[in-house]
């Protein structure tokens, strides 16, 4: 009998990176499946097939990129791919794209996500930026026109951004927007064409709760991120004095509008929680999520971009090493510091809310939109009165 030497402890939990990634893959697949079912039911087979085609293109590109990388580095290809979990990046990336995007754009986005976003930094575990966000940002900037003729309708985000300045000020303006997207229920269930992943918010939330309970994602990230957005936008509603809608006070409906429109729920549950690119310490994660919330709202209301979630994540990824070195001491000795940092983030949020509320012109007119999202009729408030 040989008595082997091993450093203590000699017991390890049954949990593993593979299991975490398996759960995450299942979660993402469920959300993707919901979207495909929705597209099939609402628009027919061609839409559903388009979504699946995009995913297939992205997955193949990922595997090809990683195989080449492994070959060049003289690593075992099969083992490298199975330990790199590139398919998770693919799934997230495809779900961030609108259904109307061409497969070429998705392939280029995937190449950037995997090769530049991940492999260039050394592969899984070493990347600084969320790889899926890198890929999406590249085609966001350079392939705006690369859309198929499958659909021309604008997403709720672009409509809200271009037509309503992200600030529909009156009940009529909100009503006309909600008519276009199918009401709050429509936003929650996703019965509108947006990015593939943001389609069924309810499914994302349920999957998110499931993953948080299984400790696959850190519950602090979505809670602080979405909570932060809720608080800041509620303040905007109060500061700008916009109207109540059917008895719902503005500080309640306006945040809901922000949370349910665009990819913040998807981003909060699946992208902000990518452990590789966020701080490891819980206090740092809270600060990270709160800052991302502030930046998201700032970009939405004051930026030239229709969507802030993606860029807020990329910007905050840059600060991850800084947050980590700021919160490096034993945690029990720095709780005060962590609280001060988070309060600062919230104060910044209040400032952003005040700035946005005081400089953004609320759109009070009721605008009738056609299926493509272009304005066909405008009824000014004075006329209504």
């Amino acid at each position: 009998m040989k008595f082997a030497f091993h450093v203590s402890p000699n017991l390890q939990s049954a949990n593993s990176t593979q299991k975490i990634m398996r759960d995450l893959t299942i979660g993402l697949s469920v959300v993707f499946g919901c979207s495909v079912v929705y597209y099939f039911a609402a628009y027919g087979v061609s839409y559903a097939l388009q979504a699946i085609l995009l995913l297939a293109c992205s997955l193949v590109t990922t595997f090809v990129c990683e195989a080449i990388f492994a070959k060049v580095k003289k690593l075992d290809i099969k083992e490298f791919i199975s330990h790199s979990f590139g398919w998770v990046t693919s799934l997230i990336l495809v779900m961030m794209c609108p259904i109307s995007i061409t497969p070429y754009a998705v392939i280029i986005a995937t190449i950037f996500a995997i090769a530049v976003g991940r492999l260039m930094f050394g592969g899984f575990g070493y990347n600084i930026y969320n790889p899926a966000a890198v890929g999406r940002a590249v085609i966001f900037a350079s392939f705006t026109g690369a859309a198929t003729s499958l659909t021309t309708s604008a997403t709720p985000t672009t409509v809200l951004s271009s037509t309503f300045n992200w600030l529909p000020g009156s009940a009529d303006a909100l009503g006309s927007y909600l008519d276009y997207v199918g009401g709050f229920g429509g936003l929650l269930l996703g019965s509108y064409p947006g990015a593939i992943g943001e389609t069924v918010s309810l499914a994302i939330l349920i999957v998110g709760v499931f993953l948080a309970v299984r400790n696959v994602i850190d519950w602090r990230m979505p809670v602080c991120y979405l909570g932060g957005i809720f608080i800041i936008t509620a303040l905007i509603a109060i500061f700008s004095g916009i109207d109540a809608y059917n008895g719902i006070p503005a500080w309640l409906w306006y945040p809901c509008l922000h949370l349910l429109t665009g990819g913040v729920i998807f981003g909060g549950v699946f992208m902000l929680t990518d452990p590789v690119t966020i701080p490891t310490v819980p206090a740092g994660r809270v600060f990270f999520a709160l800052c991302a919330a502030v930046i998201t709202v700032l970009i939405r209301l004051k930026g030239n971009l229709p969507e802030g979630c993606l860029y807020s994540i990329l910007i905050m990824n840059t600060f991850t090493p800084m947050i980590e070195s700021a919160l490096d001491a034993p945690q029990l000795k720095q709780t005060k510091k962590a609280i001060i940092m988070s309060v600062c983030a919230l104060v910044m949020g209040v400032c952003v809310a005040y700035y946005a509320a005081s400089t953004t012109r609320a759109v009070n007119a009721s605008k009738t939109l056609d299926a493509e999202g272009t304005v066909v009729a405008v009824i000014e408030e004075e006329d209504l009165a």
């Binding site: 450093v7 000699n10 939990s13 990176t17 994660r285 809270v286 034993p330």
Partner: protein, 434 residues
Amino acid sequence: MSLFLGPMQKHIPGRKSLTDHSDAKILMPKKNVYIPVFTGRDSNCEILVNEGDHVDIGTKLYITKTGFEVPVYSSVSGTYTGMAKRPHNSLRPQPHMVIELSEEQKQIQAFEPLDWQSATFEQMLEFMKNSGIIGQGGAGFPTYVKYMKPDNINTLVINAVECEPYITADYKVIMDSVQDFVHGCRILQKLAGAQSCLIGVKKTHPDLIDCIRKELEKENVSGMEVRPVPDVYPMGGERTLIRTLLKREYDKLPSECGVIVNNANTAVLTARAFEKGEALSKKYVTFSGEALNYPTNVIVPVGMDVSEILEQIGGIKSDLESCKLIAGGPMMGKTMVANNIVIDRAMNAITVLKNKDLEAMTCMRCGNCTSHCPMGLQPVRIANAVKMNNTEEMEKRGAMLCIECGLCTYVCPSHIQVTENVRKAKRTLMMKKK
């Protein structure tokens, strides 16, 4: 669990049912016992018997000369035949006193008992010092040292948690001698001058809780209470136990927040010393683990060879090529490369596990180690500092506070030896200090 802190603890399957239902087996060595002449740091001791002398159970064998003074008493009757260097659980060979057993085992009174109810604090402290009692939780720190400055102490915590998986020795000791246990708690409480005494027991051992409560009722003791604690690791760690029972934090020693913590078995030994004049001779030791044919608790004299015990209880599974022999539990115990180590005074378990290691993967920075560390450290960050060989950062990140409980390695989904990385940081810092 809060917004800024993780749970700082984790449930680990205890696998206690392997050994807690059967009675402890009383075993005796066939020929020799080997008493380690080693306490804590070195083997600088004064031997009090001559080669060829006859000793009995309770004969004083040696006294340590460096550090705190601790006498060691013989665990068997027999003849002292000389010194031998043998493998020891400190991972280095140490001198051992070889005592050849005589046929008849005789127990003599190691020292005069003391009526603790009428004794003064000074008398009791001197008695503790002379009794050679060391902490039975695993570290083996002399017990009397904790009571030398009893100012401001208001609570005595008796640690009967036994949070390490597999180990049931303390459970067996208390179940078999609950009266001694309660007396020991009362003696230690008086010695500490503490108003209250809390006994921490895992919720998952309701029979033990009942047993102690009944004894407390019988003796009509006031100011003493059994507190069930959740089945998580490291609940038996002083810091986690104090945090759970009293919601207090401290910097270095529990006495800073008015608490003294002692192990349950230490209380039993204290009662036997005060009331019967007995020194530590026999120990309850758990022999457990998946690689053993018949896991069980044993009662053996201090200094008995582990290989002999293994042989007597049915040995290691023969179909295994190699195994891990751990002195202690699987979380904090050290693996031994030889099976002829002996049972030392503070050892309460031998765990024998199958030798299979999980393949390590790249760290994905999930932060599990950070959110589970009972000391609130950030093991992943300390490991980064080790990689960069940055001693300043290791110090700043609090590597020296690590209690090496092993939870960070346990929870790591990438199967990285996180605890060992932190240990490297500790070693580097210690070297630097010298």
